[in-house]
Symmetry: C2
Subunit: 180 residues, 2 copies
Amino acid sequence: MDFTDAVRGRRSVRAYRAQAVPDAVVEQLVDLAGHSPSSLNGQPWHFVVVKDAAIKARLAAIKNRFCPPAKQAYPADFLQQAPVIVVVCVERDRSFGRAIENGMLATSVILLGAHALGLGSVCLTAYNGEEPALAQAIRHELNLPDSIEPISILPLGYPDEVPASRTLPALEDRIHVDRF
Amino acid sequence: MDFTDAVRGRRSVRAYRAQAVPDAVVEQLVDLAGHSPSSLNGQPWHFVVVKDAAIKARLAAIKNRFCPPAKQAYPADFLQQAPVIVVVCVERDRSFGRAIENGMLATSVILLGAHALGLGSVCLTAYNGEEPALAQAIRHELNLPDSIEPISILPLGYPDEVPASRTLPALEDRIHVDRF
């Protein structure tokens, strides 16, 4: 798929068909994510590919448990329906103080790449600076060493919904020349 | 350009030809970035497009002034050669606690899109959690209101270098099934 079509067509998808996602497709997405830029070219990424139903259910429960009040409209139960979930993580010592940034750059590639390959996904964060217990619970569930930071939780599946169209702000309202 | 080619071919480019970047190309990149996902669909982005030579020089000086010791091998002087610089910013109140994440998702699209459109770029951060004076200096230089957070500084230009090839870690060393 053309790059611009991948960007313009991608939407957040939270309902998936039961159809399995081939391992080769997941590996292609992870491989693409590894081409992202990273601070000092540290390439700090690790990817936990979750297919086990019990682990998916517990990840959903963890996200629900730590869901802030403002985001209660988006429960994480749908994670259980995703054929596969990729948890993007980074090695702290190879992130050079930019763990979140490095993790989000790889996350972006998986979200876009999923759409380019016919899949749907949505970005859930795996940490909250004001609630360290969230990342700790995910670390425990996925057996992550202390040196590894979980960044995002990306369900992958063939879409079973067509998200409503959305309105974007006019370009002239968000572009500023030389100074704000 | 095909999505996968944009991801695999993108490299960090720090040398640019003098050739101007058409406004329409910059606007296309900013428009694409506005299609990124954002927390609660807040679409918090603002983009400051810097073409003024004096502002570019001062942005380079600010980045050099706050460069951490570990990153001294990458001075920011080259920012002055870029025909245009896009500073990705986010409105705090529309970021729902995810300013950096929202900003980096849009940053990723500009970095990839630049390559897809024949340009080179590289990601410089516009803040440092341990050194708030960096964002403050950029905020002052770009006349950003207190409600706006600068996230990344993205020079854009036609490449005047071919970055050396790089080695990526083997996929099996960074992919983990179900648990780490």
